[in-house]
């Protein structure tokens, strides 16, 4: 559920086809730099109601999903 919601959020935000986003897709694959990732963390806060701190370990979409799960 979290993955689907996050993938949709990213697809809308970056204007890409949601089907191109898989758990293995990295933020860099989507053309996101570190400030885009920082903004994504703010979107996650709004959307999921949890605070995920910036970390170099957050690379793939699955990393973000796991970080959100850990906070819920």
């Amino acid at each position: 559920m979290i993955f689907e919601k996050l993938a949709k959020l990213l697809a809308d935000k970056l204007d890409v086809d949601v089907d191109t986003i898989t758990p293995e897709t990295t933020a860099a694959d989507l053309g996101m730099d570190s400030l885009d990732v920082a903004e994504l963390l703010m979107d996650i806060e709004d959307e999921f109601g949890v605070t995920v701190e910036p970390s170099p370990d957050l690379k793939t979409i699955d990393d973000f999903v796991k970080a959100i799960e850990a906070k819920q």
Binding site: D33, S34, L35, V37, E39, M42, P54
Partner: protein, 317 residues
């Protein structure tokens, strides 16, 4: 009773340093800096001290207001990059412009100019002062690690000043401090005490980029929304939102999240970089001298930085 800004002034160092100049010093590029921070060039002090810049901005503001230095009742300055730990830049300005009034400095990093306004408002409210001078001056190039490509490309030097006189131009303000030394900090010179067992850290600007970005965007959106709502205003009622010029991406993102057109936000970071507590008064001086402000215009200023401190103020020009 509070105050009205009756004059502004600024000083920018003569030396322009472009992104290509920096690419010769650290591994970076014009494209990377423009894309990530929105800066094309910045001014870097060469033969100017921090006090030199503060004095030039102060004199320009006094002239602009038609106020003599000996008429001043209060001088407040802000800097994180002054020439001395003591005396403060305020004392140096007082001496060099020929004033005799009380003078002191406030440290609230990049948000400090708004803390100066708030502090001055207290003196005006008590009827203790009739004319005040406030100055934000920064020689950040002195406290940058010129080997660290993630910070040395962001900052610039400069000073901005404003003369305040009794009036009713200070409409509302909000301040938020969340004590933290992890996200942003500038350690002091460590010293050479033979008894000191604490760990030395380079006395340069240390900054965690993503955390700073999040804090800055959140602060702007929260504070702008708060002041607009509390004063029953919309962005259309505001002539300009004047944000601290930290990073164009911060301002763009905040504007988007607020749903306020980017053009409403005054920007000069492309030419000047981040000048910390000098950025808002420099922006005010640019707007004023370019004839972009009329008496009665409402301006909303917002700032954020080390502390972590953030602030916003609504003024009538």
């Amino acid at each position: 009773m509070n105050f009205r800004i009756t004059g502004t002034g600024s000083y920018l160092p003569k030396r322009i340093v472009t992104n290509n100049d920096l690419a010769k010093i650290v591994e970076t590029s014009d494209e990377w800096i423009q894309q990530r921070i929105g800066i094309r060039e910045r001014r870097i002090a060469t033969d100017e001290t921090c006090a030199d810049m503060a004095v030039s901005a102060a004199e320009s503001a006094l002239e602009n207001a038609g106020v003599r230095a000996d008429e001043l009742d209060l001088i407040l300055t802000s800097t994180v990059s002054g020439d001395f730990v003591s005396p403060s830049t305020a004392c140096l300005v007082q001496k060099r412009i020929g004033a005799t009034c009380m003078a002191y400095e406030i440290n609230a990093a990049c948000s400090a100019f708004l803390f100066l306004l708030e502090t001055a408002a207290g003196y005006f409210a008590r009827g203790k002062v009739k004319k005040a001078l406030i100055v934000g001056a920064e020689k950040l190039s002195r406290i940058l690690d010129w080997k660290d490509r993630s910070t040395c490309v962001i900052f610039g030097d400069g000073a901005g000043a404003a003369v305040l006189e009794a009036g009713d131009g200070y409409l509302d303000s909000t301040f938020d401090v969340k004590g933290d030394d992890e996200v942003l900090r500038i350690p002091h010179f460590h010293g050479s005490s033979p008894f000191d067992e604490t760990e030395a850290e380079e006395p340069y600007i240390h900054m965690a980029g993503q955390e700073t970005f999040k804090f800055a965007v959140s602060s702007i959106t929260r504070d702008v929304k708060l002041l607009l709502e509390r004063n029953s205003l919309t962005a259309d009622d505001i002539r300009y939102i004047v944000p601290h010029q930290a990073n164009a991406r911060i301002i763009d993102t905040a504007a988007r999240r607020l749903g306020i057109p980017q053009e409403k936000f005054y920007m000069n970071i492309d030419r000047l970089g981040n000048t910390s507590s000098a950025s808002i008064p420099i922006a005010l001086d640019e707007l004023s001298r370019a004839g972009k402000l009329e008496r009665g215009d409402k301006l909303l200023m917002c700032a954020f930085g080390a502390g972590l401190a953030s602030a916003a103020a609504l003024i009538r020009w």
